[in-house]
């Protein structure tokens, strides 16, 4: 796969999910956003981020799921992505929902959909 294709794949999954009608948005029970291996991006509040275990090229929503363990860059995923199929999922004990402080990729999740966690 070319470098460009890798990047396209990384982002198309995210944008496809975000472009889907909002009425379809669900909060799965196991989601990347509360996994201790996930880092939320501080750039915007889109609710996207990176996995620190899986690498670019992975796809945990695919059937069967794809797990790439080698490579330079982490798997780009989202807070609300369903992690049920991911064997590396590990639920965080503490989720800081306080949006009045600045980002903390590891612990802070201030998005609306996670406020009642």
């Amino acid at each position: 796969m070319s470098r460009r294709d890798e990047i396209r794949q990384a982002y198309s999954g995210i944008y496809a999910q975000q472009a889907a009608p909002k009425s379809n948005q669900k909060r799965p029970e196991k989601m990347c956003g509360v996994c201790s291996n996930y880092l939320e991006a501080a750039f915007t509040g889109e609710g996207v981020g990176t996995c620190t275990i899986l690498k670019l090229g992975s796809d945990i929503l695919a059937n069967p799921p794809v797990f790439v363990m080698e490579g330079e860059n982490g798997y780009r995923t989202m807070n609300l992505r369903d992690a049920a199929a991911c064997p590396h999922y590990s639920k965080m004990e503490f989720v800081d929902k306080d949006g009045t402080e600045c980002n903390d990729p590891k612990y802070r999740r201030s998005m609306r959909q996670m406020q009642d966690l």
Binding site: R3, I7, A42, F43, G45, T52, T100, E101, N103, Q113
Partner: protein, 836 residues
Amino acid sequence: MAANPAVMDQSIESLEKNQQWWWVAEKKRSRRLDYLRKSIWKKGAVGGLYNPGVKVDLEQGFLGMEAWKANAIFPEPENIRLARELAHFLDNKTIFITDHAQLVGYVGSLPHTVSWDPSLGEMLNEEIYNDPSAIPDPVDENLKKVAELCDFWAGKTLQARIIPAFDLEGMMKVMSGAIGWGLPTSRSGYAGKDYEYLMTGKRGFADILAEVEKKLDETYDKLHNQPPKRDNSSLTDKLQTWEAMKIILEACIRHGKRYARLARILAENFESDSKRKEELVRIAETCERVPAHAPRNLQESLQYDLFIQLFSRTEAVEGAWPSRPDYYHWPYYKKDVLDEKSISEEAAMDLVGEFLIRAAEVGQYKPRWTKEGLQGIDGTWVWTLGGVYPDGTDACNDLTVAFLRAARLVRVANPTFAFRWHPKVKDEVMREVFECIRHGLGYPSIRNDPLLVQNSMHWHGHPLEEARTWVHQACMSPCPTTKHGFQPMRMASATANCAKIVEYVFTQGFDKVVNMQMTPKTPDPRTFTDFEQVMEAWNVHMRSIFGLLVSGVNRGRSVASRITPRPYLSAVSERSVESGLDVCDPSISRGNSWITGFTWVENVDSLAAVKKLVFDEKRYTMDELCKALDANWEGYEQMRLDFVRDAPKWGNDDDFVDNLMVRCLQDVAKYSRELECPSGNSWPLLPENVSGNIHYANMVGALPNGRRLGDALYDGGISPGPGLDKKGPTAVLKSCGKIDHVGDGRAFLLNQRLSPSQLAGEKGYQLWKAYIRTWADLGLDHVQFNMVSDETLRAAQRDPEKYQEVIVRVAGYSAHFVDISRKTQDNIIQRTIQGI
């Protein structure tokens, strides 16, 4: 709104004696200003959240949707399409007039809203959908509307059109948020204005419209009635650009008249108080006049300025407000107050104070990096006061003084002022500047005018007379206000998180926080045997980060005319009206680019620590240092303290570290000259921070200056780290004076915290003046002051309601102390109070 009970029983003299300036202001300002000041819905974010009650505005999205559907029937080129969309919005949005106001105009539909244009980007739309507090009430119903807008605009936005035009890999790195800010588009950034064209009394929008219509007629004739030449294709483009200008100018004129109509209806049908009726009639007359025609008096001039800004902010999300209000409004102030005496100084003060309030209340929904990086404010409205005329004579005037006094009365954090100091500024003006600082406003910052004029000429080749017109493009960088000198888009994305440069030396270019190979893989630092190898690696990462960010901005600028045109900004810019080219077209401007360098000093302190402790004294090896940094210093506390305490720190007049600062800056300056903007000009560095030191605290890993992941970074520019400047203010100035503030970069921000008690009275003023003389003699270009005690700040933390108008200087801007996150507050309290 009732007066603060804490204030009511105390005399002004008693409050002044206790230096409780925020309550002095409340007592001294007029009832109108007091009402209007308290009417502001503050639009800055605390951390990443808007204040309770501030809600996102849905109107622009739905009106934009209507316009989009109408355009789909007969698709137009993007500039005309956008002009029609903006016109439809301006014709149909809800407008309002606040009780007691004399100036009108707001970006949103209601005072408590922050505007949102969902046609800009899916990223922003997604963020709004995820926002935990800004969805309007009733939340369930309005969440569905937000969803509808997000769904409609998905795939149709400016972001969707422009992302494919970028280098994808570069974009991915920028969008990680680790190394820099922003998306390089012309409709999100800081737009300068051609004030020499717009605000010198020669024309209003109707006059520009007449010019545009003439151009349309001439070009139409050329295209249709004359033999086609090889530039025929460009004639069609120009016709479209002028057509878009015509549409938007007409809409802007109509919009002004909507306020006139509303004011008249209120005067005739709703208002029983005769004085207020008169004021409403005056508002109507003002808005009939401007923006269609050039202003004739101070109220019209201020209103005209507000409209210019409003329309620009309707077209784009603007993070700055370049302005020189005492210069461009002076002729009208002089006429009304001094010559014809048609209004009193007090009446003028009400207008000037309200002008500050109108600017303070502006709010456009901003993405996380902006909310967190500019906590407490919507954007950096750094207004430029003082300076000189193009012939070099002093430009300070009575309006300069009026603005400074108005600022002390209304105590808004934004706009903030920056004062263009030069050796011929009169003492009475310097005293007014000092009073603002002494009253704890945190502004004006002081700029060395002769030096910065030289700097502008050096880096960007602006002719002397043009360079002298300069205003702050955003927080710090000078930009002319002239036909070819002003910059239409300064994209925030040429803003670098510089601490990453030194971090990547130790991680070989890999960013552990976002899990990405960000810059080229430099050799394993454990193999370095001398300091020069460290510097070599440092240069690789510096060039890579800066090059990546510049590349993105250059690309955004180059494609802007085609993909993200700005019909309104073009319509109010002489070079575009004349040429028929979009204002973003690089061929018609001189270029005024710079790289903002957040988190800069960490590099120097870290490199100094490595040089001293590893290579000079050999107390630690690179292997040991790498292990400690990998572990975030956990388990290495004694070692960490050695790197904090035993390595020299910037700001103490110590050549060991100061020479490293100069070396790093000169390495960057060398690279800056290799970089080119699309106009062919350079990209010098400008170290400063806003509240990026907090926004990036959890993004920057452990560093050799002893910092851990999560610790606040330094407060920016060339300011020493908090508490690390131990040799007094003169030492700080001397360190900063070793930098060449013309050749080594664009400008250099310096925060200083001064003692309110030391600077009381006449003695305090003389001490401060002496400090400024030293600052100027050492050749520094910038300094800004916090003058508020720890006691007050801690009291404000305990009881924020009582201290709503306490202001602090954050970095390139001021904010109300209660409007920033706790971590940011603590960081400011930590700054050393310098005794001068």
